[in-house]
Protein backbone atom coordinates (compact mmCIF):
# COMPACT_ATOMS: atom_id res chain seq x y z
CA UNK A 1 0.00 0.00 0.00
CA UNK A 2 1.14 3.49 -0.72
CA UNK A 3 1.71 6.02 2.02
CA UNK A 4 -1.26 7.98 0.79
CA UNK A 5 -3.60 5.02 0.93
CA UNK A 6 -2.30 4.14 4.38
CA UNK A 7 -3.09 7.67 5.51
CA UNK A 8 -6.53 7.50 3.97
CA UNK A 9 -7.22 4.20 5.68
CA UNK A 10 -6.01 5.63 8.97
CA UNK A 11 -8.25 8.69 8.77
CA UNK A 12 -11.18 6.48 7.87
CA UNK A 13 -10.49 4.26 10.86
CA UNK A 14 -10.14 7.25 13.18
CA UNK A 15 -13.44 8.54 11.87
CA UNK A 16 -15.09 5.25 12.70
CA UNK A 17 -13.58 5.35 16.18
CA UNK A 18 -14.82 8.90 16.60
CA UNK A 19 -18.35 7.86 15.63
CA UNK A 20 -18.26 4.95 18.02
CA UNK A 21 -17.39 7.06 21.05
CA UNK A 22 -20.29 9.50 20.69
CA UNK A 23 -22.45 7.12 22.66
CA UNK A 24 -20.89 6.64 26.09
CA UNK A 25 -21.88 9.17 28.69
CA UNK A 26 -20.74 9.65 32.23
CA UNK A 27 -22.99 8.09 34.82
CA UNK A 28 -25.58 10.29 36.51
CA UNK A 29 -23.85 9.58 39.81
CA UNK A 30 -21.07 11.94 38.70
CA UNK A 31 -23.53 14.80 38.30
CA UNK A 32 -25.22 13.89 41.58
CA UNK A 33 -21.90 13.96 43.42
CA UNK A 34 -20.96 17.29 41.87
CA UNK A 35 -24.28 18.87 42.82
CA UNK A 36 -23.91 17.67 46.39
CA UNK A 37 -20.45 19.18 46.54
CA UNK A 38 -21.69 22.42 45.03
CA UNK A 39 -24.58 22.77 47.45
CA UNK A 40 -22.37 22.01 50.42
CA UNK A 41 -19.89 24.66 49.40
CA UNK A 42 -22.30 27.40 48.42
CA UNK A 43 -25.16 26.86 50.87
CA UNK A 44 -23.79 29.50 53.22
CA UNK A 45 -23.60 32.07 50.43
CA UNK A 46 -27.24 31.85 49.48
CA UNK A 47 -29.52 34.69 50.52
CA UNK A 48 -33.15 33.72 50.36
CA UNK A 49 -34.86 35.67 53.11
CA UNK A 50 -36.76 38.50 51.44
CA UNK A 51 -38.79 39.03 54.55
CA UNK A 52 -35.63 40.39 56.24
CA UNK A 53 -34.66 42.58 53.34
CA UNK A 54 -36.12 45.83 54.64
CA UNK A 55 -34.36 45.55 58.00
CA UNK A 56 -31.10 44.72 56.25
CA UNK A 57 -31.63 47.61 53.85
CA UNK A 58 -32.15 50.05 56.68
CA UNK A 59 -28.94 48.95 58.39
CA UNK A 60 -27.04 49.05 55.11
CA UNK A 61 -28.27 52.53 54.32
CA UNK A 62 -27.03 53.75 57.68
CA UNK A 63 -23.64 52.14 57.05
CA UNK A 64 -23.47 53.70 53.60
CA UNK A 65 -24.22 57.14 54.98
CA UNK A 66 -21.45 56.71 57.53
CA UNK A 67 -19.01 55.65 54.82
CA UNK A 68 -19.89 58.58 52.57
CA UNK A 69 -19.51 61.14 55.34
CA UNK A 70 -15.95 60.52 56.43
CA UNK A 71 -15.10 64.18 56.69
CA UNK A 72 -15.88 65.26 60.26
CA UNK A 73 -18.81 67.65 60.38
CA UNK A 74 -21.72 68.29 62.68
CA UNK A 75 -24.09 65.36 62.40
CA UNK A 76 -27.01 65.99 60.12
CA UNK A 77 -29.98 63.67 59.78
CA UNK A 78 -30.72 62.05 56.44
CA UNK A 79 -33.65 63.99 55.07
CA UNK A 80 -36.09 62.24 52.78
CA UNK A 81 -36.17 64.19 49.54
CA UNK A 82 -39.51 64.89 47.88
CA UNK A 83 -40.14 63.15 44.56
CA UNK A 84 -40.11 65.66 41.77
CA UNK A 85 -42.23 65.34 38.68
CA UNK A 86 -39.17 66.11 36.59
CA UNK A 87 -35.90 64.59 37.75
CA UNK A 88 -32.58 64.25 36.04
CA UNK A 89 -30.08 61.66 37.15
CA UNK A 90 -26.74 60.16 36.29
CA UNK A 91 -26.41 56.51 35.28
CA UNK A 92 -26.01 54.03 38.10
CA UNK A 93 -22.34 53.72 38.98
CA UNK A 94 -21.03 50.51 40.56
CA UNK A 95 -19.57 50.71 44.04
CA UNK A 96 -15.97 49.67 43.55
CA UNK A 97 -15.80 47.46 46.63
CA UNK A 98 -18.91 45.41 46.00
CA UNK A 99 -19.61 42.16 44.15
CA UNK A 100 -21.78 42.36 41.02
CA UNK A 101 -25.51 41.74 41.23
CA UNK A 102 -26.96 38.51 39.91
CA UNK A 103 -29.73 39.13 37.33
CA UNK A 104 -32.37 37.41 39.42
CA UNK A 105 -31.26 38.97 42.71
CA UNK A 106 -33.86 40.84 44.77
CA UNK A 107 -32.75 44.47 45.20
CA UNK A 108 -33.89 47.65 46.93
CA UNK A 109 -33.36 51.24 45.95
CA UNK A 110 -32.95 53.65 48.84
CA UNK A 111 -33.01 57.40 48.35
CA UNK A 112 -30.62 59.36 50.54
CA UNK A 113 -29.07 62.81 50.78
CA UNK A 114 -25.30 63.22 50.76
CA UNK A 115 -22.90 66.16 50.73
CA UNK A 116 -22.41 67.52 47.22
CA UNK A 117 -18.65 67.19 47.70
CA UNK A 118 -19.10 63.39 47.52
CA UNK A 119 -19.68 63.68 43.77
CA UNK A 120 -15.93 63.90 43.37
CA UNK A 121 -15.55 60.31 44.66
CA UNK A 122 -17.41 59.11 41.59
CA UNK A 123 -15.63 61.30 39.09
CA UNK A 124 -18.36 63.92 38.87
CA UNK A 125 -17.75 67.63 39.11
CA UNK A 126 -18.64 69.43 42.30
CA UNK A 127 -18.74 73.19 42.37
CA UNK A 128 -15.83 74.66 44.31
CA UNK A 129 -16.92 75.66 47.73
CA UNK A 130 -19.94 73.32 47.57
CA UNK A 131 -19.29 72.78 51.24
CA UNK A 132 -22.42 71.93 53.13
CA UNK A 133 -24.77 71.78 50.12
CA UNK A 134 -26.36 68.33 49.69
CA UNK A 135 -27.41 66.24 46.69
CA UNK A 136 -29.95 63.46 46.31
CA UNK A 137 -28.71 59.96 45.57
CA UNK A 138 -30.39 56.62 44.88
CA UNK A 139 -28.51 53.62 46.22
CA UNK A 140 -29.08 50.05 45.02
CA UNK A 141 -28.82 47.45 47.77
CA UNK A 142 -28.49 43.71 47.11
CA UNK A 143 -30.23 40.97 49.02
CA UNK A 144 -27.37 40.95 51.48
CA UNK A 145 -27.83 44.65 52.17
CA UNK A 146 -24.53 45.62 50.59
CA UNK A 147 -24.62 48.70 48.37
CA UNK A 148 -24.01 47.81 44.74
CA UNK A 149 -24.51 51.03 42.81
CA UNK A 150 -25.34 54.69 43.21
CA UNK A 151 -26.73 57.45 41.06
CA UNK A 152 -27.12 61.14 41.74
CA UNK A 153 -30.41 62.90 41.12
CA UNK A 154 -31.20 66.47 40.35
Amino acid sequence: MTEESNHEALMQALGALRESIQGPEAALRVEDALLRAYRQRYAAKRRSWPWRAWRVAAVAAAVLIALLTLIPRPEQPVEPMPVSAREFSTEYMPMSFSEPLMPEEFVHVVRISVPRSELVRFGLPAEPGAGGARVTADVVLGEDGVARAIRFVR
Partner: protein, 190 residues
Protein backbone atom coordinates in the same frame (compact mmCIF):
# COMPACT_ATOMS: atom_id res chain seq x y z
CA UNK B 1 -34.41 31.69 33.62
CA UNK B 2 -32.72 30.11 30.59
CA UNK B 3 -28.98 30.32 30.99
CA UNK B 4 -28.04 28.32 27.92
CA UNK B 5 -27.37 31.48 25.94
CA UNK B 6 -24.87 32.83 28.44
CA UNK B 7 -21.19 32.56 27.62
CA UNK B 8 -18.91 30.18 29.47
CA UNK B 9 -17.15 33.10 31.09
CA UNK B 10 -20.36 34.51 32.53
CA UNK B 11 -21.47 31.09 33.71
CA UNK B 12 -18.14 30.67 35.50
CA UNK B 13 -18.56 34.01 37.24
CA UNK B 14 -22.13 33.22 38.24
CA UNK B 15 -21.46 29.74 39.57
CA UNK B 16 -18.65 31.06 41.74
CA UNK B 17 -21.16 33.56 43.12
CA UNK B 18 -23.48 30.73 44.14
CA UNK B 19 -25.74 30.19 41.12
CA UNK B 20 -26.31 26.43 40.93
CA UNK B 21 -28.15 26.67 37.63
CA UNK B 22 -25.07 28.25 36.09
CA UNK B 23 -22.96 25.36 37.33
CA UNK B 24 -25.28 22.72 35.90
CA UNK B 25 -25.51 24.62 32.61
CA UNK B 26 -21.74 24.75 32.31
CA UNK B 27 -21.45 21.09 33.29
CA UNK B 28 -24.03 19.93 30.73
CA UNK B 29 -22.36 22.02 28.07
CA UNK B 30 -18.89 20.54 28.52
CA UNK B 31 -19.28 17.16 30.20
CA UNK B 32 -19.46 15.13 26.98
CA UNK B 33 -16.24 16.44 25.53
CA UNK B 34 -14.30 16.24 28.81
CA UNK B 35 -15.57 12.71 29.40
CA UNK B 36 -14.76 11.55 25.85
CA UNK B 37 -11.27 13.01 26.01
CA UNK B 38 -10.60 11.28 29.31
CA UNK B 39 -12.00 8.06 27.88
CA UNK B 40 -9.85 8.35 24.76
CA UNK B 41 -6.77 8.92 26.87
CA UNK B 42 -7.37 6.27 29.51
CA UNK B 43 -9.47 3.65 27.75
CA UNK B 44 -11.43 3.30 30.99
CA UNK B 45 -14.96 4.52 31.73
CA UNK B 46 -14.18 4.45 35.44
CA UNK B 47 -11.12 6.63 34.96
CA UNK B 48 -13.00 8.94 32.62
CA UNK B 49 -15.76 9.47 35.18
CA UNK B 50 -13.19 10.10 37.88
CA UNK B 51 -11.46 12.69 35.71
CA UNK B 52 -14.75 14.35 34.80
CA UNK B 53 -15.67 14.66 38.45
CA UNK B 54 -12.23 16.03 39.39
CA UNK B 55 -12.37 18.64 36.65
CA UNK B 56 -15.70 20.05 37.75
CA UNK B 57 -14.85 19.81 41.43
CA UNK B 58 -11.91 22.04 40.63
CA UNK B 59 -14.30 24.41 38.84
CA UNK B 60 -16.78 24.70 41.70
CA UNK B 61 -13.99 25.08 44.24
CA UNK B 62 -12.63 28.03 42.33
CA UNK B 63 -9.36 26.26 41.55
CA UNK B 64 -9.70 26.83 37.81
CA UNK B 65 -8.50 30.30 36.83
CA UNK B 66 -9.90 31.40 33.50
CA UNK B 67 -8.06 34.02 31.46
CA UNK B 68 -9.86 34.93 28.21
CA UNK B 69 -6.56 36.03 26.70
CA UNK B 70 -5.26 32.47 26.96
CA UNK B 71 -8.09 30.65 25.21
CA UNK B 72 -11.55 29.19 25.59
CA UNK B 73 -13.13 27.67 28.68
CA UNK B 74 -13.42 24.40 26.75
CA UNK B 75 -9.67 24.33 26.17
CA UNK B 76 -9.08 25.18 29.82
CA UNK B 77 -11.29 22.31 31.03
CA UNK B 78 -9.58 19.89 28.67
CA UNK B 79 -6.22 21.06 29.95
CA UNK B 80 -7.31 20.34 33.52
CA UNK B 81 -8.66 16.96 32.40
CA UNK B 82 -5.38 16.19 30.71
CA UNK B 83 -3.44 16.84 33.89
CA UNK B 84 -5.73 14.53 35.85
CA UNK B 85 -5.56 11.79 33.23
CA UNK B 86 -1.78 11.89 33.06
CA UNK B 87 -1.56 11.69 36.83
CA UNK B 88 -3.94 8.74 36.86
CA UNK B 89 -1.98 6.93 34.17
CA UNK B 90 1.27 7.44 36.04
CA UNK B 91 0.10 6.39 39.46
CA UNK B 92 -2.87 4.10 39.19
CA UNK B 93 -2.60 0.69 37.52
CA UNK B 94 -6.41 0.32 37.66
CA UNK B 95 -6.65 2.83 34.87
CA UNK B 96 -3.94 1.48 32.61
CA UNK B 97 -4.30 1.83 28.89
CA UNK B 98 -4.84 -1.90 28.51
CA UNK B 99 -8.55 -1.67 29.31
CA UNK B 100 -10.79 -4.30 27.84
CA UNK B 101 -13.26 -3.69 25.06
CA UNK B 102 -16.15 -4.44 27.43
CA UNK B 103 -15.26 -1.37 29.50
CA UNK B 104 -15.55 0.85 26.47
CA UNK B 105 -18.36 -0.05 24.14
CA UNK B 106 -20.16 3.01 22.96
CA UNK B 107 -22.46 3.39 19.99
CA UNK B 108 -22.99 -0.33 19.58
CA UNK B 109 -26.21 0.23 17.65
CA UNK B 110 -24.13 1.57 14.76
CA UNK B 111 -21.63 -1.26 14.91
CA UNK B 112 -23.59 -4.32 13.98
CA UNK B 113 -20.86 -5.54 11.68
CA UNK B 114 -18.24 -7.63 13.51
CA UNK B 115 -15.45 -6.56 11.13
CA UNK B 116 -16.23 -2.94 11.79
CA UNK B 117 -16.17 -3.52 15.54
CA UNK B 118 -12.88 -5.31 15.27
CA UNK B 119 -11.41 -2.49 13.21
CA UNK B 120 -12.56 0.13 15.65
CA UNK B 121 -11.16 -1.89 18.54
CA UNK B 122 -7.85 -2.18 16.71
CA UNK B 123 -7.73 1.57 16.24
CA UNK B 124 -8.68 2.15 19.84
CA UNK B 125 -5.93 -0.13 21.12
CA UNK B 126 -3.43 1.47 18.76
CA UNK B 127 -4.32 4.94 20.07
CA UNK B 128 -4.06 3.75 23.67
CA UNK B 129 -0.64 2.24 22.95
CA UNK B 130 0.76 5.59 21.86
CA UNK B 131 2.87 7.59 24.30
CA UNK B 132 0.66 10.14 26.08
CA UNK B 133 2.18 13.08 24.23
CA UNK B 134 1.04 11.60 20.90
CA UNK B 135 -2.16 10.09 22.23
CA UNK B 136 -3.47 13.43 23.41
CA UNK B 137 -3.02 15.18 20.06
CA UNK B 138 -4.84 12.32 18.31
CA UNK B 139 -7.59 12.56 20.92
CA UNK B 140 -8.01 16.32 20.59
CA UNK B 141 -7.43 16.85 16.88
CA UNK B 142 -8.68 13.66 15.24
CA UNK B 143 -11.24 12.34 17.72
CA UNK B 144 -12.56 15.60 19.18
CA UNK B 145 -11.96 17.43 15.89
CA UNK B 146 -10.50 20.48 17.58
CA UNK B 147 -8.65 23.12 15.59
CA UNK B 148 -4.89 23.20 16.07
CA UNK B 149 -5.10 26.50 17.96
CA UNK B 150 -7.64 25.26 20.46
CA UNK B 151 -5.79 21.98 20.97
CA UNK B 152 -2.62 24.01 21.56
CA UNK B 153 -4.45 26.06 24.21
CA UNK B 154 -5.66 22.91 25.95
CA UNK B 155 -2.21 21.37 25.95
CA UNK B 156 -0.31 24.53 26.75
CA UNK B 157 1.93 23.99 23.75
CA UNK B 158 2.68 26.02 20.61
CA UNK B 159 0.58 25.28 17.54
CA UNK B 160 3.69 24.12 15.71
CA UNK B 161 4.34 21.50 18.37
CA UNK B 162 0.78 20.23 18.06
CA UNK B 163 1.11 19.94 14.28
CA UNK B 164 4.40 18.10 14.40
CA UNK B 165 3.27 15.75 17.15
CA UNK B 166 0.04 15.01 15.28
CA UNK B 167 1.98 14.20 12.13
CA UNK B 168 4.25 11.88 14.06
CA UNK B 169 1.34 10.33 15.95
CA UNK B 170 -0.52 9.57 12.75
CA UNK B 171 2.61 7.97 11.28
CA UNK B 172 2.97 5.76 14.32
CA UNK B 173 -0.68 4.79 14.17
CA UNK B 174 -0.51 4.04 10.48
CA UNK B 175 2.48 1.76 11.07
CA UNK B 176 0.71 -0.11 13.84
CA UNK B 177 -2.50 -0.49 11.92
CA UNK B 178 -0.87 -1.42 8.63
CA UNK B 179 0.88 -4.19 10.50
CA UNK B 180 -2.56 -5.39 11.57
CA UNK B 181 -3.96 -5.22 8.04
CA UNK B 182 -6.12 -2.22 8.81
CA UNK B 183 -6.40 -1.23 5.19
CA UNK B 184 -8.29 -4.33 4.27
CA UNK B 185 -10.62 -3.93 7.22
CA UNK B 186 -11.21 -0.28 6.40
CA UNK B 187 -12.12 -1.09 2.82
CA UNK B 188 -14.64 -3.60 4.10
CA UNK B 189 -16.39 -0.82 5.99
CA UNK B 190 -17.19 1.23 2.87
Amino acid sequence: MDLTELSDEILLTRLLAGCEQSFTTLYHRHRARVYRFALEMSGSQIAAEEVLQEVFLAVLNGEVRYDPARGSVSALLLGVARNHVLRLLRHDSRHSAAATAEEYSGGTDALADLTQRETIEAVRQAVLSLPPAYREVIALCDLEEMEYAEAAEALGRPVGTVRSRLHRARSLLAEKLAAGSLAGAARSMT
